[in-house]
Assembly symmetry: C2
Homo-oligomer: 205 residues x 2
DNA sequence: TTATTTTTTGACCATCTGGTCAATACGATT
DNA sequence: AATCGTATTGACCAGATGGTCAAAAAATAA
C-alpha cells in the first residue's frame, strides 16, 4: 500500500461536504458556543448521530472548517508578487480582500468569531502559517520602500489596516446595513482605492 | 412623590455595579451564548440566585451593558467639533478611538461580538442613536470638503475605516499578539497618523 | 442470492444551564 | 428587644445539548 490514507467513498465525500457547508452557515452566524449539533443536523439534512458518524464531535467540525479556511484566507497575500509593480500589487491585494468580504462573508465571520474569542483553536495555525507569511511579505514591502517605490510606512500595520478595512464590510455587516443606503461595497472599492493610493504614493513624502 | 423611580440603596448600587463589571469580563471574553450565569456569579462573588435578584435574567444584564456602552462608544464622535480644524478634528477622533481600543478592549469586544452575531439586541440602538449621529457628522465632513479643507472622499466610508482600523487592535488582539513583537499600539498611532493625514490632505488632490 | 461492510437512525443518557422558590439572614427603625 | 422590609442562599427543576449505542437499513462484494 502506497497510500496510508483510506480512500473515502463517494457518500463520505458528499456527506462530509454537506456537513461542513451547513456548519459554516451555523458557526458563522452564531459562533462556536452558540451553535448546536442539532442546528447543523437540520441545516445539513442529516440526523445528529449520522453527523457524529462522520465527525468525532462538534469541535472536530469546527477545527476542520478553520483549517480549510486558512488556505483560502491567506491565498491573496501569498499571491502578492515581489516582481510586480508595488502599488498595483498592494491594491490588487486590497481588492481581492474586499471581494472576499463580499463573496465569502461567512468565512470572514467564522474567522472573526474565532479571533475575538482569543483564537482558542487557531493560535497554532496563526503561528505556523500566518506569521511566516506575514514576515516574508513585510520584508518584500520593506524592499519596495527601500527602492523608493512606496512611501515608508510600517508594513505590518499596513497589513492590519487592509485586513480590518476590508473585512469590516463582512464582519460588521449588521452595522453597515443600518448606516448605508445602497450597495456599500462599490463605494468601498472607490474609497479604499483612494485611501491606499494616497498612503503609498512615494512622491508624497 | 416627585420621583417615580425608586431610589436604590447603597447595597443595590454596589452589587449591580459588581455584576455588570463581572458580566463585562465574561461576555466580552466568551460572547453572549458562551457566557453562563454561573461564570458571572463566580466573577462577581455573588450567588446565582442573588444575581437574579438584581437582574431579571441573563439577557437583561447583557442589554444593560450594551446600553451603557453606547454612550461611551459614541462620545468621541459626538465631540468632533464642526468649528475646529478639520484634519486635526478627525485625527483627534482617530486617536481617541485608538485609545479606547487600548483602555477599553472589553467594551470593544462586547460590541464586536454583538454586531458579529447580527446585532440581535442592538439594532434599535443603532437606528436610534448611531444613525442620526453618523448622518450629522457626515454632513459636517462634507461641509469641510466643500470648503476645500479636506480632500473629497466618501465620509461614511471614512468613518468605517476609522472604526475598523482602530478597533482592530482590541477585537483582533489575539492575532495582533501573534504577529507583533513589542507594543503595537504605539506603532499604530504613528501609522494611523500618517494614513489619515495623507488621505485627508486637500492639496494632494 | 447471499454475505459483508458501510451508513443511518431512534432511543437514551449525563451534564449543563437559565431560572424558581421557600426559607433564612441581615439591617434599619421603633 | 421586637418589627419589618431588604438581601441572600440551598435545593431544586425543566429544557437544551453533546454524545452513545445497539439495531436496522442500504450499499457493495461474493
Amino acid at each position: 500500500m502506497v497510500e496510508t490514507e483510506k480512500k473515502s467513498s463517494r457518500i463520505q465525500m458528499r456527506n462530509r461536504a454537506r456537513i461542513l457547508e451547513a456548519a459554516l452557515d451555523v458557526f458563522s452566524a452564531h459562533g462556536y458556543r452558540g451553535s448546536t449539533l442539532d442546528a447543523i443536523a437540520d441545516a445539513s439534512g442529516l440526523s445528529k448521530p449520522n453527523i457524529l458518524y462522520y465527525f468525532s464531535g462538534k469541535e472536530e467540525i469546527h477545527v476542520t472548517l478553520l483549517s480549510q479556511l486558512m488556505e483560502t484566507w491567506l491565498d491573496p497575500l501569498v499571491e502578492m508578487d515581489e516582481n510586480g509593480d508595488p502599488i498595483e500589487e498592494i491594491l490588487r491585494y486590497v481588492m481581492r480582500k474586499l471581494e472576499m468580504s463580499r463573496d465569502l462573508p461567512r468565512e470572514s465571520r467564522l474567522f472573526a468569531n474565532e479571533i475575538l474569542q482569543g483564537a482558542p483553536r487557531m493560535t497554532p495555525h496563526l503561528e505556523a502559517d500566518l506569521k511566516p507569511l506575514v514576515d516574508e511579505k513585510c520584508a518584500v514591502i520593506r524592499t519596495w520602500m527601500e527602492m523608493g517605490k512606496l512611501a515608508p510606512i510600517d508594513p505590518k500595520h499596513l497589513l492590519y489596516s487592509i485586513w480590518s478595512t476590508t473585512q469590516h464590510y463582512a464582519d460588521f455587516e449588521a452595522q453597515v446595513q443600518v448606516l448605508s443606503d445602497d450597495d456599500p461595497l462599490e463605494d468601498a472599492r472607490i474609497f479604499l482605492d483612494t485611501l491606499y493610493r494616497r498612503l503609498l504614493a512615494p512622491n508624497a513624502d
